[in-house]
């Protein structure tokens, strides 16, 4: 995959709280991710991983606290165009073809030559020969590739992935790990949530663990990588 160079962007979460009624999805989470880091986010279901990622993606507003995106000199930068988000769901339309989907999102993003960009990304994720097929006909692995293609449309500096390996066969996981490795090496900042150790967790330069909405362990502050994943599958 030939990726354009990006200016690295870091993320600072400051005292993030997210309340749903009386329930805390996230409690006072403060975290700074340096530009270019590849961070794995571990934790049980319901620990707040998805919420944290969606806040970073600006889909959810925190109840209190702030999130800032930082350029290399640690100054704040505009976030909107910086992030690419890959969720549990594919976030593309089943009833459109691969090509139509990417073209639509490229147009919405205001990319100057949307058709060209869509074609480039289809090639990069290896879906060129299926461009005219409806996404409905795609396998899980192919859908993930579509999801990644869509997330990369605006050439983001930050990639946010929410359990992207779910439902992928070993081949799919390998492809995903390879793709993420290329992104990491090209300088993109990556925050990916995972259930357990895998080929993907091996790419990480850092791992953190959430439990019941709080940050409880961080390899940067001394926790060991295996301990981050203990009980992660539970």
């Amino acid at each position: 995959m030939t990726l354009p160079a990006v200016s690295p962007v870091g993320i600072r979460f400051e005292n993030i709280d997210k309340r749903y009624g009386g329930l805390y999805g996230l409690r006072q989470v403060s975290l700074e991710i340096a530009a270019g880091e590849c961070v794995v986010l571990a934790g049980r279901n319901g620990s707040g991983k998805t919420t944290l990622l969606r806040i970073a993606a600006r889909l959810v507003r925190p109840s209190s606290g702030s999130i800032t995106f930082l350029d290399k000199k640690n100054g704040a930068t505009t976030a909107a165009s910086q992030t690419g988000f890959v969720a549990h769901a594919t976030m593309v339309y089943d009833e459109l073809t691969a090509e139509e989907n990417l073209l639509l999102f490229a147009q919405l993003l205001g990319i100057t030559e949307p058709a060209a960009r869509a074609e480039t990304l289809l090639a990069e994720v290896g879906l060129t020969d299926r461009r005219k097929s409806l996404v409905r006909t795609f396998s899980r692995g192919m859908r993930q590739r579509m999801a990644i293609a869509r997330a990369l449309l605006n050439e983001p500096s930050v990639l946010l992935l929410d359990e992207p390996a779910t439902g992928l066969d070993p081949q799919g996981v390998s492809w995903l790990a390879g793709t993420l490795r290329q992104m990491r090496d090209a300088g993109r900042t990556i925050l990916v949530s995972l259930h357990g150790e895998s080929e993907i967790s091996g790419l990480a330069t850092r791992a953190i663990r959430l439990e019941a909405g709080s940050l409880i362990a961080d390899t940067r502050t001394g926790a060991s990588l295996p301990s981050i994943f203990t009980f992660a599958g539970a």
């Binding site: 309340r19 749903y20 009624g21 009386g22 329930l23 805390y24």
Partner: protein, 225 residues
């Protein structure tokens, strides 16, 4: 506690005075006789209902802007109390109409519009029961409340225009047209008494909702942990 008792006593006195005014002080209407006295209850309830829904509207706007639970509590309190007053309007209308016209319901412009208003706020309350998550429920009902209130003048306007095409017996005559000064005073006093009752009811309902909201918060937090 003492303040509440005092407030309730004052409201009770005001209502009593208003009732006295409506029954004894106001002159008897020429054509319709004694039954017309229900007019003071009917019209003051209608005006109070609208005032209460306006309060609900303001609470809705404040919630969307500030996202503080107390605006949601105020909104639901105002909506429920407003609904009570609106029901009084819809009930007193036929009670007046039957002896005068011999029919229970006329598709009179104001009564019909009030009926739609009633339906809108019933829908508002039903919406609240169908969204479980408290923040989402508060936001959605606030947004629907805003839509509903903005619709109210359009409802009244369009139905009044419709009725000019096909005139029906007008319940209560024109409000304010052909009223003697004494009648005006009694009406305004009645409205004042109704407003004080409304304030009392909304306040009580608000406090109930506040307590319920807090315990709900605690319970959800306990279950979450």
């Amino acid at each position: 506690m003492k303040k509440h008792a005092l407030a309730s006593a004052v409201v009770f006195l005001l209502l009593g005075a208003a009732a006295y005014g409506a029954l004894f002080v106001a002159p008897t209407e020429k054509t319709m006789g004694t039954i017309q006295r229900i007019f003071y209850l009917h019209v003051s309830s209608a005006w109070t209902g609208l005032t209460t829904f306006f309060i609900c509207f303001l609470a809705n706007l404040l919630y969307v802007w500030r996202r503080e639970p107390r605006w949601d509590w105020l909104a639901v309190s105002a909506a429920e109390v407003g609904l009570v007053f609106t029901t009084v309007v819809l009930v007193t209308g036929p009670i007046w109409a039957h002896p005068v016209w011999g029919i229970w319901w006329t598709w009179d412009a104001r009564l019909t519009s009030t009926f739609v208003l009633w339906l809108l706020y019933i829908s508002y309350l039903l919406l609240r029961t169908l969204v479980e998550e408290p923040d989402r429920r508060a936001l959605f009902s606030a947004l629907f409340g805003i839509f509903a209130f903005i619709d109210v003048p359009l409802v009244f306007g369009s139905i009044r225009w419709w009725r000019t095409q096909h005139p029906q017996p007008v319940v209560m005559g024109g409000s304010g047209s052909g009223l003697e000064p004494t009648m005006w005073y009694v009406l305004l006093f009645s409205w004042g008494a109704m407003l004080s009752l409304m304030a009392l009811l909304v306040r009580a309902r608000f406090e109930f909702e506040a307590v319920r909201g807090e315990t709900d918060l605690v319970r959800r937090e306990a279950e979450g942990v």
